[in-house]
């Protein structure tokens, strides 16, 4: 399953780049919108990167189950004897490698764009490493619920954004306090705890949500 998803993903290279490009564009908008001077950027930088990461994850989630849902392979997945949650875990990991990982890898680069010092960049990298998988998993729950609907995009963000708030708070704050040389490992621990919770619970929720949405057609 995981192998298949990676295979599929690498066949559509263009689509992989889309969220990453969106991520870079959004981040580079902020200096233009607010002000180019380094101190301002340094203070808002972490928040900007986190919000941009969140939005690009949301964008990339739109297509997550859609192709499977349309060509019928989602039905076969649901009917396979393997437990649904295991399959879904594989799907999310594949999705994370395709969309989450590029964002995380490129984020230190954007950190430089916003004049963040190297050690702050490092914390940014770690916080994204812990936070983005959570965004992927919780987002996948939203996608599973809205898969068969007409204007799923808008509804997806409404469902998922409140659930993203804790990670956004802890993530961006970890980086800000790192910038002001305050202790940040508390926030990182919180991110890790949220991630563990999501990894254990969300696959089960996703598979039952998909079972419900599939019976809708």
């Amino acid at each position: 399953m995981l192998f298949r998803d990676l295979q599929i993903a690498f066949r559509q290279r263009a689509e992989i780049m889309l969220p990453v490009i969106f991520f870079v564009v959004v981040v580079s908008l902020f200096p233009l919108a607010i002000s180019p001077d380094p101190d301002v950027l340094r203070s808002i930088g972490p928040g900007v990167i986190w919000v941009a990461a969140l939005l690009s994850i949301l964008l990339s989630l739109q297509s997550l189950f859609r192709s499977d849902f349309n060509d019928g392979s989602m039905e076969q997945i649901l009917l396979s004897p393997y437990p649904g949650s295991l399959l879904m875990l594989a799907r999310i990991v594949a999705q994370w490698c395709v969309t989450g990982l590029p964002l995380i890898i490129i984020s230190p680069l954007l950190g430089l764009l916003l004049h963040l010092e190297t050690h702050v960049n490092w914390i940014l990298f770690i916080s994204l490493l812990l936070g983005v998988p959570y965004l992927n998993m919780v987002g996948a729950i939203g996608v599973a619920l809205t898969i068969g609907l007409r204007q799923a995009g808008a509804l997806l963000s409404l469902l998922v954004l409140p659930l993203y708030v804790p990670v956004l708070i802890f993530g961006s704050n970890a980086v800000i306090s790192a910038a002001n040389d305050l202790p940040y490992n508390g926030q990182l621990l919180w991110l890790a705890a949220l991630l563990v919770m999501a990894t254990t619970l969300s696959p089960f929720v996703i598979s039952s949500a998909l079972r419900v949405s599939c019976s809708y057609r």
Partner: protein
């Protein structure tokens, strides 16, 4: 009959739609009367008899509306989540109806809590919106409600909408404490703690009584709305059955 299976019998009888419909019909008038009485007591108590707060003067009287609606917004979401769980696990259609009928009133309570909160903020801090921990988590709760209602509206098939919405309610209810904690933690980070005298200042006894009356009145009001809505949902769902046919053609 032993006590145990008497309650089971009641629960079972409650399950049968026709019985619930009539039972709700009987309960409704009493419920409305009780709500009105309690509301009056609470209002008179709160607006007239309760002494003015030494610090905030008369302005604090908004608490009699703000705090009950904030409590209710949380209470209704809990009811929706619990009923969602019951519906998903035991497929009892009645609990889906209860969850479905409470969504809108729950959202209105959350909206009221926000509105009265910001109106109360104006005289106290001079600004309409204060990024206070409780108000912010109230705002996020409103988004959860809107998401719930939006999801339920977007799916035409009644059964699937019920299941999908119940899953969302459960996911939401797990996240509410996390959201609340992170917002409170975030709030203490950015603002000195002194301002957080906001929610319940040391309550004087005869300030407290009207507050409890109002809270109870709100609960009963919610019950009335719930009864009316679930009766119409029940009719909608059981429209093919015999008892609906008689009821409709006779009335």
């Amino acid at each position: 009959m032993s006590e145990q299976n008497k309650t089971w019998l009641w629960f079972h009888r409650m399950g049968s739609p026709a019985y619930f419909y009539n039972f709700a019909g009987l309960l409704l008038p009493w419920c409305v009367i009780a709500t009105v009485i309690l509301m009056l007591i609470g209002l008179i108590g709160g607006l007239v008899y309760a002494p003015a707060d030494y610090q905030q003067g008369e302005g604090f009287r908004i608490i009699y509306v703000h705090v009950p609606s904030a409590w209710m917004s949380m209470f209704v979401y809990m009811v929706m989540a619990i009923n969602g769980a019951i519906f998903l696990i035991w497929h009892i259609k009645l609990s889906d109806i209860i969850a479905r009928s409470s969504a809108v009133i729950g959202a209105s309570f959350t909206f009221l809590a926000l509105a009265t909160g910001s109106i109360w903020g104006k005289p106290m801090w001079g600004t309409w919106w204060v990024w206070d921990a409780r108000l912010t988590s109230e705002l996020l709760l409103l988004f959860l409600y809107l998401g719930y209602i939006g999801l339920r509206a977007a799916i035409d098939d009644r059964r699937v909408a019920g299941k999908a919405a119940s899953i969302l309610a459960l996911v939401g209810v797990i996240n509410i404490p996390i959201i609340h904690y992170s917002v409170v933690w975030w709030n203490t980070l950015h603002q000195p703690a002194s301002i957080s005298k906001f929610d319940n200042p040391s309550i004087h006894i005869d300030m407290l009584i009207p507050l409890l009356c109002m809270a109870l009145a709100f609960k009963l009001f919610y019950l009335c709305i719930l009864l009316i809505n679930s009766r119409s949902e029940l009719l909608e769902q059981e429209k093919r059955t015999q008892w609906v046919k008689e009821l409709v053609t006779s009335s």
